[in-house]
């Protein structure tokens, strides 16, 4: 097959690089969501232990 003209080939090249970047962005977004969930849960645990500590001091 002869080489495609630049304007037509550009669409394919852009598509391939976009696929790569999209995969990486989705992956990083998923991991980022996981990390923010961990951060939130950690905050809840810290609050829980602080309340527990305060309760002990009151006793």
């Amino acid at each position: 097959m002869p080489a495609l003209p630049l304007d037509e080939a550009g669409k394919y090249v852009a598509g391939a690089y976009l696929v790569f970047l999209t995969l990486i962005v989705i992956y990083v977004a998923i991991i980022g969501a996981k990390v923010s969930r961990i951060d939130r849960e950690l905050g809840e645990l810290v609050e829980l232990t602080d309340e527990e500590k305060a309760g002990r001091h009151e006793l």
Partner: protein, 241 residues
């Protein structure tokens, strides 16, 4: 534990990817045969090489797990395989785009390189149902490691078999004679491989850090619940006459 040295690694990855993109689009010459479409090569081939190496690395880590009994090696193996599957998805999609642009077809079933990569990819897709169908964590880690070793050994065998087969249309990039890449293309290709490897290691460390933090959080929560149960007043015991 896994986050040590993450920041410089992430910076190096971003720099390497930017450098490789710059080389691809501003330095590497146009291919005389394929023209501009050949630029897909610099993302497709490094992704395929790193994905296959990731599968093999997953197998090596699984061997380490079975030898030491340390479950962290199973986690490392799992994350390496997981990332390789993501890269493998990218390889199949970018490969299909490249095939359509240069051969006029999205897929060719008589091309050994394509079909063999699909076989490896589908083989590793079995890893997830196998792993998550076992509830007992020790058995899950052991069975997954055995699979990772067997499949990891299959990857180089499969690669060698394909190299021995006669290529119909797929170009040979790396060969004993040094391939057929001119200097600028070779440099661009090598930088792209380094960038892809750095990306793999960075994402591997990132996911391991997140998984480790999640596991530690779970164990902390469990310990706190246990402590709360112990400090709670005991329920009255009902006695029967």
């Amino acid at each position: 534990m896994y986050s040590k040295g993450f920041k410089p690694l992430a910076i190096a990855t971003v720099v390497a990817i930017a450098a490789s993109f710059a080389l691809v689009f501003f330095y590497a010459p146009l291919d005389a045969d394929q023209g501009f479409v050949q630029k897909i090569f610099y993302v497709h081939v490094p992704m395929a090489i790193v994905a296959l190496c990731g599968f093999v690395a997953g197998g090596i880590m699984a061997i380490k797990h079975l030898r030491t009994g340390d479950r962290s090696w199973d986690m490392r193996s799992y994350v390496a395989i997981h990332l390789s599957i993501i890269l493998g998805t990218g390889v199949l999609i970018t490969g299909a785009i490249w095939a359509k642009a240069s051969w006029g077809h999205w897929w060719l079933w008589d091309e050994p390189v394509l079909v063999s990569f699909l076989i490896v990819f589908l083989l590793y897709c079995v890893y997830y149902p196998l792993r998550f169908s076992i509830e007992d964590p020790d058995r899950q880690a052991r069975y997954s490691s055995v699979f990772a070793i067997a499949a990891g050994a299959f990857v180089p065998i499969n690669f060698a078999a394909v190299r021995l087969a006669e290529a119909v249309t797929h170009p040979r990039v790396l060969s004993q004679t040094g391939g057929n890449l001119p200097g600028e293309m070779r440099l661009t290709f090598l930088v792209s491989i380094v960038a892809m490897t750095l990306l793999f290691v960075t994402l591997w460390k990132l996911e391991l850090t997140a998984k480790n933090a999640s596991m530690q959080l779970k164990s902390l929560r469990r310990r706190l619940e246990l402590r709360a149960d112990e400090s709670a007043p005991a329920a009255p015991v009902r006695t029967t006459a």
